[in-house]
């Protein structure tokens, strides 16, 4: 059974986007308990993200936290929005490519005059693109 991949976009105060990607089926899945545990792990890594943000001047922060057999990778956008990925040991380059592609979609989304910066993302088009990118890079 593959460990599902959790991708969360966190703004200043709250999560803006969440997608749980089961790489075998590419849809949401997983039972409730492991989902909640995953969210907990991801959010507790936020402090570590802040810490490692100061150590490097690139946007990709690599792996910031390791819990059991899972790792949290983070990408920090220029506007201080955090893209976080909880995964079971994917290669760094793969995760970097995934983050870069999602960053491209995020920038296009933020050019939409109707989208206000740092608000939850409800666009279905964005969600579909993120899932497609996850399917192609992370499975």
């Amino acid at each position: 059974m593959s460990s599902p991949i959790l991708f969360v976009i966190v703004g200043k105060n709250e999560p803006l986007f969440e997608a749980e990607i089961d790489t075998y089926t590419g849809t949401t899945g997983g039972n409730d308990l492991s989902t909640r545990q995953n969210y907990f792990v991801l959010h507790s890594a936020l402090d570590l993200v802040e810490k490692s943000a100061w150590t490097t001047n690139s946007m990709y922060l690599r792996v910031v936290d390791k819990v059991n057999h899972q790792q949290v990778s983070t990408f920090l956008t220029a506007g201080n929005i955090k893209f976080m990925l909880l995964h079971g040991g994917k290669g760094e380059e793969v995760v970097r490519s995934f983050f870069n592609e999602v960053y491209g979609y995020y920038v296009k989304l933020s050019m939409n005059p109707f989208y206000k910066y740092d608000t939850p993302i409800t666009s279905l088009a964005f969600e579909n693109r993120v899932r497609a990118a996850a399917r192609s890079y992370l499975s």
């Binding site: 296009k108 050019m111 939409n112 005059p113 109707f114 409800t122 279905l124």
Partner: protein
């Protein structure tokens, strides 16, 4: 038929001479304008009316610029438009081309030759725009917003200055899922040369 390609060529030449602006800046500026209007007026129908009014002011000024540039360049405007069909071609092939750089088509002339449609394949104003989904909490229904209603005002304003009173509506919109944008233009009346009563000699 020859007038069609003449208009297209003239439009191309006029576009080449115009100063250019960054398309993204243009789209983002218009986007901010629309969202501010939405925030201020809240009702999408009212916002449509405001956009039409803004477009009207723009159109009134555009037509002067168009006529002066086209005359200077000697673009065959020595022959006036004989009927609405010619006017439609000029608006779409020369007007839209000159100011926006886009190819617009005309079609769907009505039986009495008083209505026509302008088709826009791509719309520079709506780059990056996605209308937000229906707000279930009952906020403004932005589906009723006509994002590109500025065009309607521009056409109305421009044609009114040459004594053609028209009504314009956006009937198809790519933001709402259609394959192209369609603006329906209806001629209401041909105004008499409007110097007004003040100038009537005794």
């Amino acid at each position: 038929m020859s007038s069609k390609s003449q208009a297209a060529q003239a439009g191309q030449a006029l576009w080449a001479k115009m100063p250019k602006a960054n398309a993204e800046l243009f789209a983002l500026t218009y986007g901010s304008l629309v969202t501010e209007l939405v925030r201020d007026y809240e009702d999408p129908i009212e916002v449509n009316a405001q956009l039409d009014r803004i477009g009207y002011s723009i159109g009134v000024r555009c037509v002067d610029e168009f006529l002066s540039k086209a005359d200077v360049a000697g673009m065959g405007l020595t022959t006036q438009c004989q009927n609405l069909r010619d006017t439609a071609e000029v608006v779409a092939k020369m007007g839209f081309k000159m100011f926006l750089g886009i190819q617009a088509e005309v079609g769907a002339f009505s039986q009495d030759q008083r209505c026509f449609s302008i088709y826009l394949q791509d719309n520079p104003l709506s780059t990056f725009v996605e209308l937000p989904e229906d707000d279930p909490s009952g906020g403004e229904d932005l589906r009723r917003l006509k994002y590109s209603n500025l065009y309607c005002g521009v056409i109305r304003g421009a044609l009114e200055q040459v004594n053609l009173k028209v009504d314009c509506n956006i009937v198809r919109d790519t933001l709402k899922g259609d394959e192209l944008n369609e603006i329906r233009v209806e001629l209401k009346e041909v105004l008499a040369d409007g110097a007004g009563d003040d100038y009537k000699e005794e």
